[in-house]
Symmetry: C2
């Protein structure tokens, strides 16, 4: 966009100037970029996952009850298993005493036949013995162990939980596509399943690039700053349901980065890079990825986050487990992997700007929905609310703006104000950490005034 | 409650009858039980935690910026560091050409003095060399490397990011009590911190009791059913932010349970048991814990979940690291632990009913707020909404009811209906897994009718 005013949001930190020399790449709107990302990010091929590790995953098969639930008639109370006819006239004034022929605890396999005039003590959950047709709770008895005196007549089938009352053998208790939250994990266990077919969580490598970056806590000399983006983005991956592999910071060296990406490609589903996406002499991410032809770099009409790239690491044909070789220069448009299909495409790559606010906004807008798609979730997006602007700000023309905001309640109204005093700049320390939402401003708006209504993505 | 009608919700599964013989224990309301639980559950003593592991934890110290942020004046653009006076008249019609004396990449420690009439190429983030007072972006140049021709005059201090612009050395960038979400983890990293003092996640052992329980997937004989509660409650612990240690199912054997609890007590902060809390002949949890005097068993005026226990495992004096011995029979009322106080009280113990719905409701109402208190969170409770009843149900008198419900939207209205066709019974497989909320019915209500408004706790 030659001649366009440069908004301050992209000019701090690592975001770099638009390339004055490279062949022009058409700018995409946020919607266009998101559509391109989601078209490329498929739900991961399901695998067998232990119930101990499935929380938050999406089920890839129907779960059927292995047996009826409960599997046998059992007592719903602590009491005595009786033939109802024997105690039909029992009352406090007409106590009936019976011999106790067995003591049935939960878990017992015993099945003593209850002859007329006999009873067995029985605990909650224990199988109902043959012959018995009702339970007298202990409160209606003297709790005897050799002989018991019963003073209450049970109703027909009283306190018997019938086999199959909850589910019959073979009933579908959970459907494919269900998100496995605690009560559903319990339902699978209850159905007799210990391992289920589920879409795994994506493994996501997170790499910061920049020779100025050092590990936080290490001493810095002139020119150096702590890497914060790899911590930011790894935590955001985990929050989205992915498994972060935080590689940390790598210097602006093409060979180092190329070898790192190549070694990671075998074991991860996605790679999130930050920094090095623009046109500086040492913009290593663009330098390594752009020539591959499988990662597109181009401006997105948003602020912050304008310069970024997205695509896929090309796997050599011999490592793709027999799949068709991935023609160079073509985005892998592989449909969703299925269990019977061993081919493994390379990981998708998100090349985000280096500015922390730009990286964070880009993650929320593009990476998080992509990871949730890979998880098999259908709720890809953060919830949004409409809020009233409490302190206005400016927005650049022709770009959708994502302003980190603090959300407050004022009686019935929900108010928002920029989290950083200076606007949507790179004031990570001062403001981004306090933001609980991103106000979304359309491309056509340039001034957001007090009292305006805005859409706000809730981020925490 | 002799003579009171027995609601069906507690009569299925493992919930057992009220004790007809034990000395009477006064029933508590839900509010009374919750207050007793929260009075006993203190925020865990803070420990040093790596930034890689702090997501969701609560910061226990203020974080100060180790240096100014940024620590040095640096370039906000890829361009050329100049003395502004040298290029004040530069324009397309009056290009000014200067020798390039250095090439300053991000991360460089170089500081070549820029004499009048000289310039240095500089990348975003690289330190501003002494002598220079403005940056000319590459777009305003011919991008030369030996000599550069400049056609745009920079404004005063153009594109220079000043040391301390975001924070001064020693500034507080995060306050104690902050929940460490991704942008705050980044703020800590940015401040030069790799390890922070935070309240750790509680380690929570989860144990199902019952001789009828087998591991899901193992074959069952007459009398046996799969353990589902340990999966349910372990996943719920993780969802609440705790670290579950899922022990699984143990039989109704007092010695086994006592030894297990004793061995776990050294390493966990809380123990969640299910089953064995009532008065059956084999109610092992009550048999082991009630005599200790530190765990109170008594009815809670709620449905489901009436019979349960709460307290603390008493640590032998010699394992309490020098703390005062815990007098038998007295609940440990130790104030919140502090870093300088090595004494370690025994874990808190939640003895929940064995019925899965009862166990789940009790977890949501008591255990989850307790775990969040231990985490140091101030938002202890699930959010609630008001919804319209779409299909009414009954509620027992004198007890608060928690009905698992399915929440639907109907235009402006939010509708709820019981998740299990049979009401709030034990129909885990059929209904609980589909519930997304718990409708809360007051003690005084006995009939919830279509069109009534109810408060609903949002659980997923």
């Amino acid at each position: 966009m030659p001649g366009a005013p440069r908004p301050t949001g992209d000019t701090h930190g690592h975001d770099r100037a638009a390339d004055a020399c490279a062949p022009p790449v058409s700018a995409r709107t946020v919607a266009e970029q998101l559509a391109a990302v989601l078209a490329e990010c498929h739900v991961l091929a399901p695998t067998q996952v232990s119930l101990d590790d499935v929380r938050g995953l999406v089920l890839a098969e129907d779960i059927h009850s292995a047996t009826a639930t409960p599997p046998f008639d059992n007592s719903a109370m602590d009491g005595y298993a009786v033939r109802r006819a024997d105690v039909l006239l029992a009352s406090p004034t007409n106590p009936i005493t019976l011999p106790v022929i067995a003591d049935l605890a939960a878990g017992t396999a015993e099945n003593p036949f209850i002859e007329p005039g006999r009873t067995a003590r029985i605990m909650t959950g224990a199988p109902l013995p043959d012959g018995a047709d009702a339970i007298v709770p202990i409160e209606g008895t003297d709790q005897g162990t050799e002989w018991v005196t019963i003073t209450v007549a049970p109703k027909e089938h009283a306190h018997i939980r019938r086999a199959g009352e909850d589910a019959h053998a073979g009933d579908t208790v959970l459907h494919a596509g269900s998100v496995l939250w605690p009560t559903r994990i319990a339902a699978a266990a209850s159905a007799g399943t210990s391992v289920v077919l589920a879409h795994p969580a994506p493994r996501v490598a997170v790499i910061s690039t920049g020779s100025e970056l050092v590990t936080p806590g290490d001493s810095t000399r002139r020119g150096q700053i702590p890497d914060s983006n790899s911590f930011l983005l790894a935590a955001a991956v985990a929050e989205a349901g992915g498994i972060p592999i935080r590689v940390g910071a790598v210097p602006d060296d093409e060979r180092t980065l190329r070898e790192l990406l190549s070694s990671l490609a075998e074991t991860v589903d996605a790679i999130v890079l930050s920094g090095g996406v623009s046109v500086g002499a040492y913009d290593v991410v663009k330098a390594v990825l752009a020539p591959l032809g499988t990662v597109r770099f181009g401006p997105v009409k948003m602020q912050p986050g304008k310069p970024q790239g997205f695509g896929r690491w090309p796997m050599p044909a011999d490592s793709a487990n027999g799949s068709a070789p991935d023609p160079a220069g073509e985005l892998n448009d592989d449909p969703s992997a299925t269990p019977g299909r061993p081919a493994r495409p390379g990981p998708v790559i998100f090349a985000l700007p280096g500015n922390p606010v730009s990286a964070y906004v880009s993650f929320e807008v593009f990476v998080r929905p992509a990871l949730r798609r890979m998880l098999g979730r259908t709720d890809l997006h953060r919830p949004t609310i409409t809020a009233t602007v409490d302190r206005g700000w400016r927005s650049p023309p022709g770009r959708a703006q994502y302003m980190p905001v603090i959300i407050d309640r004022d009686g019935e109204r929900t108010l928002v104000r920029p989290a950083a005093a200076g606007g949507s700049g790179s004031h990570l320390v001062a403001g981004l950490g306090q933001a609980t939402g991103l106000a979304i401003v359309s491309e056509s708006s340039t001034q957001i005034s007090d009292g305006d209504l805005v859409t706000v993505m809730l981020t925490s």
